[in-house]
């Protein structure tokens, strides 16, 4: 068994209005950063887990995302595992 660290990024699906992202984009434009577009505000979840391998860790993390960490009706997730 080894200790792994993971970062899960949860984001709204592209088709879903990200009202927060839009508000942030507006504020950036007001500050003069007018060439910015497609701002999305995502969620980052970090955790540690014990697993026999990186593959096993990833498989577990996928289940966690499907079951709780992301609402797959409206959100996508990305998993990054580090040793």
């Amino acid at each position: 068994m080894a200790q792994f660290h993971a970062t899960i990024t949860v984001s709204l699906k592209p088709a879903v209005l990200d009202a927060q992202g839009k508000a942030v984009e507006g504020a950036l434009h007001h500050l003069g950063f007018t060439h910015v577009s497609q701002v999305r505000v995502n969620k980052s979840i970090t955790l540690s887990l014990e697993a026999a391998s990186s593959e096993e860790a990833t498989a577990e993390l996928r289940k966690m995302c499907e079951q709780l960490l992301a609402n797959t009706v409206i959100e996508n997730y990305e998993i990054a595992v580090h040793a």
């Binding site: 009202a19 709780l68 009706v73």
Partner: protein
């Protein structure tokens, strides 16, 4: 009529729901705790009340939807026990997969707390039978994550199957698709709605008692 109001950590509209049920139906509900794994038997109605269960952590209703009691509630739903989810309760029902779609952040990003005009889009259910079809009503809304969204196919299905229960009229406070304020499941035994019918039952508290008919409907349907 045997009813129950479920309390999650952070629920705050449980007492109003209890009071509405008791005053209007004459029967006292029981309170259930989110960690209970069995439900009373017999049971006709389960209410998931409004509030901020788990502080809306992760997503509104996400953690409450994975509470121990939700397995028993899903089984009860499959048996045809009637379930009413109000506001946070609606969010919990979608997170639990008992209703389709999701409730996202209001498009304005503002928390909207106001008296809202709605229309009863379908009075063909145990929840809305005492309203007339298309009746204009006013309920309080108080939510930051009330924008109902779902994919185009499900939306079409909800419309074709006449499963929209309530629609916002006049203005849409959160940007929900098709002005949806509440929906039924396929058998119309589950209703999830963002507005609060339990807050408009008493003439002492406001100009309308438009919420009373929802509870008399349930009494008439369930005895």
């Amino acid at each position: 009529m045997k009813s129950a109001v479920v309390i999650f950590p952070g629920s705050n509209c449980d007492r109003d729901a209890y009071r509405a049920l008791h005053h209007i139906t004459g029967y006292q509900p029981v309170y259930l705790w989110h960690q209970d794994t069995t439900l009373p038997d017999p049971l006709d109605l389960i209410v998931l009340p409004g509030g901020f269960s788990y502080g809306d952590y992760l997503r509104s209703g996400a953690i409450a939807a994975r509470s121990p009691i939700m397995q028993a509630i899903a089984q009860a739903a499959a048996r045809g026990v009637v379930i009413l989810g109000i506001c946070n309760g609606f969010q919990i029902l979608t997170e639990a997969g008992l209703l389709p779609g999701a409730l996202a952040r209001n498009d304005s990003l503002s928390f909207r707390a106001k008296l809202q005009t709605l229309e009863v889009a379908n009075n063909n259910s145990p929840f809305t039978r005492d309203y007339t079809q298309g009746q204009s009503v006013q309920f309080h809304i108080a939510h930051g994550d009330g924008r109902y969204i779902t994919d185009a196919e499900t939306l079409k299905q909800l419309e074709e199957e006449e499963r929209i229960a309530f629609r916002y009229t006049g203005n849409n406070p959160n940007g929900s698709l098709n002005n949806i304020a509440g929906i039924f499941n396929k058998t119309r035994t589950i209703l999830g709605m963002m507005p609060h019918p339990e807050r408009v039952i008493d003439p002492l508290l406001g100009p309308h008692c438009d919420g009373r008919a929802l509870f008399t409907s349930l009494l008439g349907a369930l005895g």
